[in-house]
Symmetry: C2
Subunit: 123 residues, 2 copies
Amino acid sequence: MANKQKGANAERELYHLLNERGFACVRVAGSGMMENTSCDLLAGKKDVKYAVECKVTKNNAKYFDPEQIKNLMEFSGLFGVTPLIAIKFNRKGWFFTNPDNLSKTEKGLVISLEDIRQKGMTL
Amino acid sequence: MANKQKGANAERELYHLLNERGFACVRVAGSGMMENTSCDLLAGKKDVKYAVECKVTKNNAKYFDPEQIKNLMEFSGLFGVTPLIAIKFNRKGWFFTNPDNLSKTEKGLVISLEDIRQKGMTL
């Protein structure tokens, strides 16, 4: 299965997961292909609102383009929602973290499964 | 031009208009075709957040499916944003209103250009 399709499937899966947890949720049109890559999902309930960047990986760590994370932070700040990174690690399930927990490396921003297990959050 | 295309164009126009007015804004994926028609756009800045249902008409009044407005209200309540109706009247421009200003008729919910001029709001 192509990466793009895997990403879209993960996005839908997370959409339904957020719905099940009582969030109103939308998928953002054109995310992953348009110039204005703000976020993949927006979710809210009561006083909790997230702009979600959604990823899937078969590895034990996930790298991010710093530019994409910068866009997510700026969009979230302007909209007035909390930025959230959601990563589906194959056969391990979903993990969530604030972008602040990503580590800077030469290859970009990264978080390992180990780190997200420790520093990450549940919804 | 087909109605669906006109609707999509109006949605993009409103997206840019909201951006110009300082809102962070997203277009909702699948709006107008999916089962879960929550809203067309989500826009926010500081303490103001809207779930926007976006329409275009060449007439002097616009009708709405009550079910669609119900969905918009429920979604907005759950997400914690303000529901907003945005109508582009051909050659008159954009007008905005709270859904409470729609009138109930046998043909559904409706608002006239005259009414939205009086009762509507600016962004």
